[in-house]
């Protein structure tokens, strides 16, 4: 929406990352079984919830939430559980980076919202990757 200033661009960026994660988890989940599949389904649900929250926040500011794309170019071919986990970690890294933009806005409540979303995404990324990072969101993009 033209003329909209403030946190809307950062909210839209976070929404775009959530939409990409929702799509990506749909692909990853198809190659997972057991507890991994259950974890992917739980994470997919979390991203759907976050998408709805962000869309409502954007609408409340008089803007139109950007629609999800019909298809996303994935960074790797997913053909087994290992590659599915790598994709999930990659998606969470993207979500973490996207919320970092929200942490820089002037609204203190939005900063906190963005930070808490970063914490959750970084935890999910670490869980899928099996290791932690010193600077989630600030680190160079992971190689899937």
């Amino acid at each position: 929406m033209a003329g909209v200033k403030g946190p809307v661009p950062a909210l839209q960026a976070a929404l775009a990352a959530e939409n990409a994660a929702i799509f990506g988890y749909g692909v990853a989940g198809a190659h997972l079984t057991g507890s991994s599949r259950a974890a992917a389904e739980q994470d997919w649900t979390e991203h759907n919830r976050a998408r709805d929250t962000l869309a409502a926040m954007i609408s409340a500011r008089g803007a139109t939430p950007a629609a999800a794309q019909a298809f996303y170019q994935l960074p790797l071919r997913v053909h087994n559980a290992s590659s599915a986990a790598r994709l999930a970690a990659y998606l969470e890294d993207g979500v973490t980076r996207a919320y970092l933009g929200l942490v820089a806005v002037g609204d203190q409540r939005l900063r906190r919202f963005g930070a808490m979303a970063m914490l959750a995404a970084a935890q999910r990324a670490a869980s899928w990757r099996g290791s932690t990072q010193a600077f989630p969101g600030l680190s160079p993009p992971s190689t899937p």
């Binding site: 970092l100 942490v103 820089a104 906190r112 930070a115 914490l119 290791s131 990072q133 600077f135």
Partner: protein
């Protein structure tokens, strides 16, 4: 057009009944070193907390971490905290002679925190204590990021996210 040398300026100001602090709105050069700003004080507190966290990990590693896998994990997390500390210190610029700084330019250790000003005894540092310290650190950083400039807020948020993942690794 008024022509006056620099030496004549105080005389002109004096004749007009002005003190130097009346004539200029900037900081008074005669007022002594300025107090530290909020950002600097916040950064010093976060650095002190990070140093205490590193102390905890070092003591835990030098004590009995349990097994080799646990020791390896703790060393990895310690390394990330050392990276946090380096980044935080790189952001700290303290004006020379500023009030509220130790003689060596460093901040005092956080009182009552995980370290309390000196390294804790080895026997007191358990995995659960590390986990609690990580959880408290993440919460503290999120609380502080509301009142600092955007770039520092992003660093705090990233470190908080890292600390949160540490909680998970430590079994939280």
């Amino acid at each position: 057009m008024l022509a006056a040398s620099a030496a004549a300026l105080p005389l002109l100001l004096g004749a007009a009944g002005c003190r130097s602090s009346d004539a200029f709105t900037g900081p008074d050069p005669l007022a002594g070193p300025p107090p530290l700003g909020h950002d600097v004080l916040t950064l010093q507190a976060v650095i002190a907390a990070e140093e205490n966290m590193i102390d905890l990990y070092r003591v835990a590693i030098s004590g009995d971490p349990g097994n080799q896998r646990t020791a390896r994990t703790l060393r990895s997390l310690l390394g990330q905290h050392e990276q946090h500390l380096a980044q935080l210190k790189a952001r700290l610029i303290v004006p020379p002679g500023a009030r509220g700084v130790r003689g060596d330019g460093q901040s005092p250790r956080a009182p009552g925190g995980s370290g309390g000003g000196r390294p804790p005894r080895a026997s007191t540092v358990s995995i659960s204590r590390l986990r609690a310290a990580e959880r408290a650190s993440a919460a503290d950083l999120v609380r502080r990021l509301a009142t600092v400039p955007p770039a520092l807020a992003q660093l705090f948020a990233s470190i908080a996210a890292s600390d949160a993942t540490h909680v998970t690794v430590l079994g939280g």
